[in-house]
Amino acid sequence: MSALTSVEAGAVAAAATREYLTFRLGGEEYGIDILKVQEIRSFERPTRLASAPAHILGVVNLRGVIVPIVDLRVRFALGEPAYDAFTVVIVLNVAQRVVGAVVDSVSDVLEIAPQQVREAPQFNALLDASYITGLASVRQGEAERMLILLDIERLMAGAEMGLVDCAAG
């Protein structure tokens, strides 16, 4: 790194800086790559699917496209899965599919540089650590808060999510 001038170092950092959409699940704050987000909509009651896991609420009509809706709060047992006028759905474009994810609230779009991100420690949780790309610390005024960065594509396409037909089964 010593060979790089500060300008060059800045350029490298800027190139790697990514924008994240942040949302809340219970008391936790998560961030996902904004490029995977198609739009944010208010919640509408989906059509229930028989024999679907509890976190898959059903399907909705999104301008003529049938889109499954996943409640991440149910999936990770975080927060109260209440559905009201303020419940939002993040419509994601992952693995060539359109999927809606229900969260408590959408907070912000933040730019996060690689140096803000720390590797997540191994822990036992409902959320498999392999879906977490890192923990970012975000400073807002005096306060500093932690953001859990998710690999939303892997999470949604994973076998546990039950959204995709698994090749094996």
């Binding site: 989906p46 009509n61 003529g64 049938i66």
Partner: protein, 681 residues
């Protein structure tokens, strides 16, 4: 002809801008001519039909002359001469004439394709023109059966044996003619093989048959004993015989003055010069290509645009439904105008949706219509009598699927005709009527479209297939079930002419058929009974098909049951359901005991205790068996667009797809076939 096109260009018109319209119209005219020819009764030809065929040929000629397509003009001119004598009853219609006219249609199509630039070469028409001339003079054409001698060059090939299939073809189909190798079975220096073919079949048919064995691009067919040549429009335009003006046949026209003007004048001037009184007599002829641009009836639009339209209209329907809901409680006196407007909006939106949805859908008739001609030619060549029956031509199917199913179906029908149906004498000996029947049917079933190709021919021979399979080194046992034996047909090893059935090899590219159908996400099954016939069932998923559905309510949820599978419905009354073996329930309907499936249980619908419960029995049928579905209420019938759940989700058992209801909600479509299977096992 050359001068005419020049005159047109010198006149300051760029005629090329009208080419598209001409090709479109000529294509319609050719299709029209072909269907008329196929429908005509040789014994008692209807003057009106002959007139219609004449008009079609004449329209093509007029347009072709305008644009300077000399070869097309020449051939249609000969057709006109023959047809004119026929419609004036100066000649009696004969079978050879229909054959020649049909063949001329094929040649014209190829010539037009060449002018449009979509094909590089068109077949040589000289022999055909000679035959048509002879027929028009009332002679039986030279050679009696219209046989010609051709030089067929195949290559470049990697292996000389690749062309051996051609020889087999001629061995298997005696009516095709004869084939001799001109090269002792070895490749020439540049990798070509040459054959001398004596045949009565048109080039197009030969090409189609040959292409089972070698790629179409590798085949060149030309007349034998003439120096190799390539025809160009200019080359033939110079021939003096091609100038229609000098031909005495022209004297037959109703109004020679008018017609001469029409074919000789630049297109743009033609309509103006057309006297009014001749119009009713020749409606097709009085719209030369240039004027036709105004009444062109079709438009090519990309499928994405249509899909976008469908989705946008779906959004509109939802917005409209929301408006209707919001205005429902308004005072009808105070808001009379607004409410009337909302009602109009609702009606117009519905009509718009129906119209837009119908754009992508085309009936199966589009596919089926090509088979009468094919079978007629095939039957004549094979010396068989074949009747074609079609069922369910009106079944609508997504355009994309229709286009892709044509080739596999053609293969299957050809196989049925070639190897399924026996010769009349064999059939009579077996106690069957002399003419065989091939039935094509299409129907919506469950989440699929089922297309069947059925013949009442000889059927497959189990022991022969087993023997063949052993020879090919496939693992077979004598105690395999019939279904397992028939499945061997689809193995790649069974392709090309193998002696499986009576004539030659059922299995010409059957593995390819299966592969193509699998690529569409479909399945294909074969069932056969020796002596009774063979049935091939193709099942395709509905990617986007319109379906008539019955909406049923179950505990506040709405499901769609395909109307095609609904037999009847009735109110459930006390004591109708009978318990069997503890948990099973049956109902007696018209003397039959049908298993009962509760949709609420099957789909695990949560019940809140209000409203009617399991009060209606819906009898549905799939795959030949019936079950009774227990639902809460019937909500009505509607046409729905089937959407695939798997685009963004995965398969759900018992659900074949989803649709969007008028209010924007998603309703799931019950997979009746799966429900029936579940109930029966």
């Amino acid at each position: 002809m050359g001068e005419i096109s020049n005159a047109g260009l010198q006149g300051g018109f760029d005629l090329t801008q009208f080419h598209g319209v001409f090709f479109e119209e000529a294509g319609e005219n050719l299709a029209n001519m072909e269907s008329l020819l196929l429908a005509i009764d040789v014994e008692s030809a209807d003057a009106e039909q002959l007139n219609a065929i004449f008009r079609a040929a004449h329209s093509i000629k007029g347009g072709a002359a305008t644009f300077g397509f000399a070869d097309v003009t020449e051939l249609t001119h000969e057709l006109e001469t023959l047809l004119d004598r026929l419609r004036k009853a100066e000649l009696k219609l004969r079978r050879e004439m229909i054959d020649a006219l049909l063949e001329a249609g094929d040649v014209l199509r190829a010539q037009l394709a060449r002018h449009r630039g979509s094909a590089s070469d068109s077949p040589d028409a000289r022999d055909l023109i000679g035959r048509i001339r002879a027929l028009a003079k009332g002679e039986v054409p030279a050679g009696g059966d219209g046989r010609r001698v051709l030089r067929v060059r195949v290559g470049p090939l990697a292996d000389a044996a690749a062309a051996d299939g051609l020889a087999e073809l001629f061995r298997d189909i005696p009516a095709l003619g004869t084939l001799e190798a001109l090269d002792n079975g070895a490749l020439s220096a540049d990798g070509f093989r040459e054959f001398r073919v004596t045949t009565a079949s048109p080039d197009g048919e030969l090409l189609e048959l040959f292409s089972f064995h070698v790629a179409r691009e590798q085949i060149a067919i030309e007349p034998y004993a003439e120096p190799a040549h390539t025809d160009t429009a200019d080359g033939r335009a110079d021939a003096p015989r091609s100038a229609p003006e000098s031909d005495p046949g022209y004297g037959f026209f109703v109004d020679p003055q008018t017609l001469r003007a029409e074919s000789a004048a630049p297109a743009a001037a033609a309509p103006a010069m057309q006297p009014q009184q001749s119009a009713p007599r020749r409606p097709a002829a009085n719209k030369p290509a240039a004027a036709g641009s105004l009444d062109s009836t079709t438009l090519r639009v990309s499928v994405e645009k249509v899909d976008q339209l469908i989705n946008l209209v779906g959004e509109l329907v939802i917005t409209q439904a929301m408006l209707t809901q919001r205005t429902r409680d308004l005072d009808p006196v105070q808001f009379q105008a607004l409410l009337a407007g909302v009602a109009d909006l609702e009606r117009n939106t519905r009509h718009l949706q129906e119209a837009v949805l119908s754009i992508r859908m085309i009936p199966m008739a589009f596919v089926f219509n090509r088979f009468p001609r094919m079978l007629r030619d095939l039957a004549a060549k094979l010396g068989k009598e074949i009747e074609l029956k079609t069922v369910g031509e009106a079944t609508e199917l997504d355009k994309g699927l229709v286009e892709k199913i044509v080739d596999p179906l053609t293969h299957l029908v050809r196989n049925s005709a070639d190897h399924g149906i026996e010769t009349p004498s064999q059939r009579l000996a077996a106690g069957k009527p002399a003419h065989g029947t091939i039935t094509l049917s299409a129907a919506h079933e469950g989440g699929s479209i089922v297309i069947e190709v059925r013949d009442d021919g000889a059927g497959l021979k189990r022991d022969r297939i087993l023997a063949k399979a052993r020879e090919r080194g496939l693992a077979v046992r004598d105690d395999m079930t019939n279904a397992e034996v028939w499945a061997l047909i689809w193995e790649p090893g069974f392709s090309t002419a193998e002696q499986v059935s009576d004539v030659s090899g059922r299995g010409v590219g059957m593995d390819v058929v299966r592969k193509n159908i699998a690529a569409l996400g479909g399945t294909v099954e074969l069932d056969s009974a020796e002596g009774a016939g063979t049935r091939v069932t193709v099942r395709l998923p509905l990617t986007l098909a319109i379906m008539d559905g019955m909406s049923v309510g179950v505990g506040g949820e709405t499901y769609i049951v395909p109307l095609a599978s609904v037999v009847e419905s009735f109110q459930l009354s006390e004591g109708m359901l009978l318990a069997v073996g503890g948990s099973g329930r049956v109902v007696k309907v018209r003397g039959d005991y049908l298993p009962v499936v509760s949709l609420a249980e099957f789909f695990g619908v949560p019940r809140d205790g209000s409203g009617p419960k399991d009060s209606i029995l819906l009898i549905v049928e799939a795959e030949g068996s019936r079950v009774a579905l227990l639902v809460d209420e019937l909500l009505g019938q509607q046409q729905i667009v089937v959407k695939n759940l798997e685009t963004n989700y995965r398969r759900v058992p018992g659900i074949s797809g989803a649709t969007i209801l008028g209010d924007g909600r998603v309703a799931l479509i019950a997979d009746v076939a799966a429900l029936v299977r579940r109930a029966r096992h």
